[in-house]
Symmetry: C2
Subunit: 129 residues, 2 copies
């Protein structure tokens, strides 16, 4: 990204900083997993909670709110008893889903390689920095 | 890890859980930015620190170590004075770079849309959950 060295304050540099801001939301494991889990259509909170292994109630709430604020998903409340709240990707959210697909695919395809790399790393004697 | 609810122990479900583990490392804003900044070739710690706006010394150290452990980058120390330490993507890291490119591109392209969505969200009266 950056060209701070060569062109301080340039538009490109500002975009680089802004990219970081966007990544605060979308470049986050939980956001990636929520977006993936909404790719088949609307889901309720409890459905997402069940589908995303290891996410806490609070983290899911925070993640959904961030994604809603960013226009990635919509939150719909139906006034029935008990209230029915569901989450659905917006058109922009669906383009994000497409943009994240290669990273999720990569993660699945490289599980074995990463396991091997970790084992090698953990086995070696390492001088602390 | 697991989501015994729907399909206990199925291969697909296990992959989903493992994906989360991989995303602990690669689905992280700082990792995405480090990988992007290594796409043009090896970089030293201080070069990365300067290029990645807002990253702390400690966070960069932790991120680099995680990526090294996962086989995404290599850390090379040259015994000169002062010691010269540089980081470079491995072949697997370069495939990760390609897989993350659409997400980074999306982030840049959607900055304005996200700003607009945030403004709308923040302006509206909202009933707390």
């Amino acid at each position: 990204m950056s060209t701070a060295e060569s062109a301080p304050g340039s538009g490109e540099q500002q975009d680089a900083c802004r990219t970081r801001e966007v990544l605060d939301i979308v470049g986050d494991k939980w956001s990636l997993l929520v977006v993936r889990n909404l790719s088949q259509g609307p889901r309720r909170f409890t459905e997402l909670k069940r589908a995303i292994d290891g996410i806490s109630q609070r983290m899911l709430t925070v993640t959904l709110r961030g994604l809603e604020r960013d226009g990635i998903l919509t939150r719909t409340v139906r006034n029935v008893m008990p209230p029915h709240v569901s989450y659905e990707l917006t058109p922009m959210g669906r383009t994000l889903r497409e943009a994240t697909a290669p990273l999720l695919k990569w993660s699945i395809e490289h599980l074995a390689h990463i396991d091997a790399a970790r084992a090698t790393y953990d086995a070696r004697d390492r001088v602390p920095d």
